[in-house]
Each structure stands twice: as structure tokens, then as C-alpha cells.
Symmetry: C2
Subunit: 113 residues, 2 copies
DNA sequence: TTTTAATACATCTAATACTTATGTATCTGA
DNA sequence: TCAGATACATAAGTATTAGATGTATTAAAA
């Protein structure tokens, strides 16, 4: 990863939930590629982090799954449950607050979208 | 802490280095109070996290120390070494990039300073 | 045609960082 | 006088995750 991995710690769940808010359903590999593409290779999720996190989110009842076969290959799609949608908003909002707090603390100017 | 602690993970060194860039010298307790004040109680550093980190930064050669007595009480001041100053810029800059990347990824609008 | 790279799932170990708990001691104000 | 704040610090336990490894299929290149 381009970013020191410590930085990304704690943001993985938020990233996954947000992506699923916008894409309805995604599978693991797709998530890694989408994040890679959207961040210009700056964030590359490792499988060792991704899959345990997906399983954890599912166990928390935030994600539901459906399995499909593409040819002989299994593909497992993840979607947000109702609670997942609520949690997603909450997490993104918390992260936005965090960014503002840190911007102030570190006196950072960010680009405006 | 108001922020879920996972969010703050990986930012402690950056916060310390940045504060020392602006204050020349600070002692541990002062750092915890300054962060608490500047963030409106949203980030409260615990001593169990702070002191090991200060010692680690010192061991890396990024900080220098001087001990003073206030009455009979010891106070240990930390300052940035030359390498520490460089590292501070680097860390803050990396974090700024990280924020921009995450803002884009999560589609967040932040307040401009 | 074979073999390499990409797709796609997943687990395990070791390292790291942090929280929580604990410990010591001084100073100040009610 | 004694509780709360100041001030240092370590230790044990928890959690996260990078990196390694494993399995298998499919597509593309050599």
C-alpha cells in the first residue's frame, strides 16, 4: 500500500459499507479492485484483512450474502441489510467528523470536491 | 474517546510530531491536555498509549528530551530533532493525502478552514 | 499448447499498536 | 485533610491486519 498501513486501520469497515451503499451488491475481489481503482492504487486492500472483515460484518448482521456460480467458479455477493444501511451512514458521518477534527488539529487544507 | 478508537489508530505519532513542530517543547501531560482542548474533548490520549510512543520516537532519534524539576516534581520535555522536523512534515503531508483520498472514496464534503 | 497472470475464495501466524489496569509520587484547593 | 489534578511510567491482555500460504478456475500470451 502507498499509505502506511496503520493509517488505513480502522477505516476498512467504513470503506466496505460505503461501497455497498452505492453498489447494492459486490463480491470480495470486486471490492479490492474498486478501491484500488478509485484511489489510484493508493489503497490496496489485502485479502487477509478483507475476508475476515466481511465475515465479521456478516456476523454482526450488517451484510447479507448470496452465492452464484460463474461457470464453475464460486462468487459470493455481499449486500447491506437494513441495519447495514444505517450503520453505513453512521460510519461515514463519524469519519467526516474525524477528518474535520484532524484537519483542525494538524492545520491541513484539503482540496474541495 | 468520543471517536471510536479504531479511527485514531495510526495517527498518534503524527499528532505528537505536529504539536512539537508548533510548540518547540512539550511534556507528556501537556500533550494530552492540548489535544483534548484543541479537539473539544473528541480525542483523549491515554497515558498508556502516549508514553510508550514518546519513548519510541525518542529511540528513533526523532525527539530529544530535557528533564526539569517543578518543585520536587519531575517534568520531562520533548523537542523535535532535525530528523524529527523532517519526519513531522512527511507524516502530516501523508495524512493530508490520506484525507483527500478518503474524502474522494467516501464522497465526503468537508468544511474549509 | 503450455504456462503465466488474473480471478476468486479463504485461513493462519507473527507483528504491531492500543486499551485497560496498575503503580508511584507531588501539588492544590475545598 | 483529603479528593482531584498533575506527572511520570510499565505490564498484561486484546485486537487488527500484513504477509504468507493454500485451492481452484479462466483467459491470454508465448
Amino acid at each position: 500500500m502507498l499509505f502506511s498501513s496503520e493509517l488505513i486501520k480502522g477505516t476498512l469497515k467504513t470503506i466496505i459499507l460505503k461501497l455497498l451503499t452505492e453498489n447494492k451488491r459486490m463480491y470480495g475481489y470486486e471490492i479490492t479492485q474498486t478501491v484500488k481503482d478509485l484511489t489510484g492504487d493508493r489503497i490496496q486492500l489485502t485479502e487477509g484483512a478483507l475476508y475476515p472483515t466481511l465475515h465479521a460484518l456478516e456476523a454482526e448482521g450488517l451484510l447479507t450474502t448470496e452465492t452464484e456460480y460463474i461457470g464453475k467458479r464460486v462468487r459470493k455477493y455481499y449486500s447491506l441489510s437494513k441495519e447495514g444501511k444505517a450503520k453505513s451512514k453512521e460510519k461515514v458521518s463519524e469519519f467526516a467528523d474525524f477528518i474535520n477534527t484532524m484537519k483542525f488539529l494538524l492545520d491541513i487544507k484539503t482540496k474541495q470536491a
